[in-house]
Amino acid sequence: MEQLYNNLSLQFELNDFMLRHGTQASFIAKREQLVSLLTNLRDIHGYTHLVMVTCVDWLEDKLFQLTYIVHNHHDQSDIIVKVLIDRDMPEMDSIHHLWEQGRVFQRELHEMFGISFPGSPGQDEPMILEGWQGPPPMRRDFDTKEYCEANYSNRERDSREPEEHMQRKLYPED
């Protein structure tokens, strides 16, 4: 894996290499180079299976960490490519032309994080949230409990302290 990383480093600007269990490598790539990096990994190095595309919200650093996991079926190794993008202007190049399921992941990220992938088919259609009017819900600054309290009402709960309750039930006269 180190050798692959060194080879890739000649071509792309990569940093923060980490290896887990000998088969799971992860590194940070540049935003502009991601599509060519993934194409390179897919077509030359055999990482043909796109496992998932996901996003981690680093609210404190004002960054979105887009995470692409690709898998090689020949030596059973994974590469986790992380791309850090600006949280306020989230925009990323689309990979729907590399993998058919890429558009589904991007549709979900667009809906849940508000990241736009120009050119990704159907990304503006609502996928999961229908008629949603709030901010993208998976962002960390969206408070789901607050939203619940504002929009739904809870049944009043009859909560009892177990000890007191059993005492009253078993020995009512005391």
């Binding site: 887990r20 088969t23 799971q24 992860s26 043909t48 299976h49 796109l50 496992v51 998932m52 996901t54 981690v56 919200d57 995470t67 996991i69 079926h73 059973q76 994974d78 986790i80 993998w99 058919e100 399921q101 558009r103 589904v104 088919p121 609502p126 996928m127 999961i128 949230l129 229908e130 819900p137 998976m138 960390r140 969206f142 789901t144 409990k145």
Partner: protein, 385 residues
């Protein structure tokens, strides 16, 4: 003659619904031919589907958001709810991702019990699936047998873990308890019955002329589609692609067990049914092996510090396991606090139901859509979570 297929504008086919050549039909969410709560928007021409859009999101609960708000141990009751027929894969993966980040070793006996739990739930899930597949082609009898038989497997679960559907059995650091006394004998009895049931299913379903006529050639997946669509699990193995995470990237005690990857070459719904039928046999054999080889004594749980204030070291990891539908994966990010920073679930149905089904459905007779959908073994809650 006018072309049957419509003009394509901006990469999308535009159907002139006013021309009375096409009909738009919704199948689901309230429809007997749809697995779970999702819907298909079908454009049909005569009996033939010319365009299919899948709509999901009816079961979205925002698990990834809820997990950000809960401590690691509090996540356990909710992760298993992600997939109803086979919740144990979720528990296993969440526990493993956590143990991976913490660098924790779990006792050997717990490894065996976890494998047993996963295989038993695979058996239950497949039995339910066979009922669905036969029901989708109009054979209610097989569904009566298998879904009722699944209940005996659930009885075993109930005796062992205390719950029928959601077991919450694999906690970080091991499992909650050992097998009850006499459980092994009852398990063997249930497995014997399941083997007998499978023989009957072979006669009634796999050799049935009507089933064969409808399933052969339905929804053919070719090996070159594997990576383009991210096809995993029995759907890939039905096309002759021998991929099984239990074999390729062994976890738990699978390296110590004797089994091989079952494949078929046709790639259609019938081949997928045969693959799954063989895998039930395989599962039964695996459970028997586990029961024979399992250590009878030893700890099932490592001692943890106070789990309510358990801090997981910062890091990012991806763990995977083979579920009944293929590769199930958890990507867990920890920032060193008591709460997970981000947990993303990769359900295998994600790609099967969204990208793949939309393309396979084109050209299929509308009556076979239900059978096609069940043959991909899609399950909606793990798509939208």
């Amino acid at each position: 003659m006018e072309s049957l297929y419509p003009p394509i504008v901006n990469g999308k086919a535009v159907y002139d619904l006013e021309s009375q050549k096409y009909l738009k039909m919704w199948q689901g969410p309230q429809h007997p031919g749809v697995t779970g709560n999702m819907s298909l928007e079908l454009d049909i021409c005569g009996d033939e589907v010319i365009k299919c859009d899948t709509h999901v999101g009816y079961l979205h609960r925002g698990f990834e958001k809820l997990m950000e708000r809960r401590r690691y141990i509090n996540c356990f009751p909710i992760v298993c709810r992600i997939c109803v027929p086979e919740p144990d894969t979720n528990e296993y993966l969440f526990a493993t991702a956590m143990e991976d980040l913490m660098g924790m070793e779990i006792p050997e006996r717990a490894l065996w019990l976890r494998t047993l739990n996963l295989e038993l739930s695979r058996l239950a899930s497949f039995l339910m699936w066979i009922g669905g597949q036969s029901g989708a082609f109009g054979m209610g009898t097989v569904a009566q047998w298998t879904i009722a038989y699944r209940d005996y497997v659930l009885d075993l679960f109930e005796e062992w873990t205390g719950a029928r559907i959601y077991h919450m059995y694999m906690t970080p650091g091991g499992v909650r308890g050992a097998l009850p006394e006499g459980w092994v004998n009852r398990a063997h009895k249930v497995l014997d019955g399941a083997s007998k049931l499978l023989d009957e299913i072979r006669h009634v379903m796999l050799n049935n002329a009507i089933f064969k006529q409808r399933a052969v050639g339905l929804g053919t997946i070719t090996p070159d589609m594997m990576d383009r669509y991210g096809i995993v699990g029995p759907n890939a193995r039905g096309s002759g692609v021998a991929r099984d995470i239990r074999m390729d990237m062994p976890y738990l005690v699978y390296p110590l067990l004797d089994f091989n990857i079952e494949t078929e070459s046709a790639g259609d719904a019938y081949a997928r049914t045969v693959v799954r039928w063989k895998e039930i046999h395989q599962s039964i054999s695996l459970i028997r092996q586990i029961l024979a080889k399992m250590p009878q004594s030893g700890a099932v749980h490592t001692t943890l510090p106070n789990v309510l204030h358990l801090k997981v070291p910062a890091g990012q990891t991806y763990v995977r396991a083979e579920s009944t539908r293929g590769e199930y994966g958890y990507f867990m990010v920890s920032d060193g606090s008591e709460f997970p920073r981000k947990v993303t679930v990769r359900g295998p149905s994600y790609t099967h139901a969204m990208a793949l089904l939309e393309d396979l459905a084109v050209g299929v007779n509308i009556a076979d859509i239900a059978g096609l959908m069940v043959s991909l073994h899609t399950y909606p809650p793990e798509i939208e979570r």
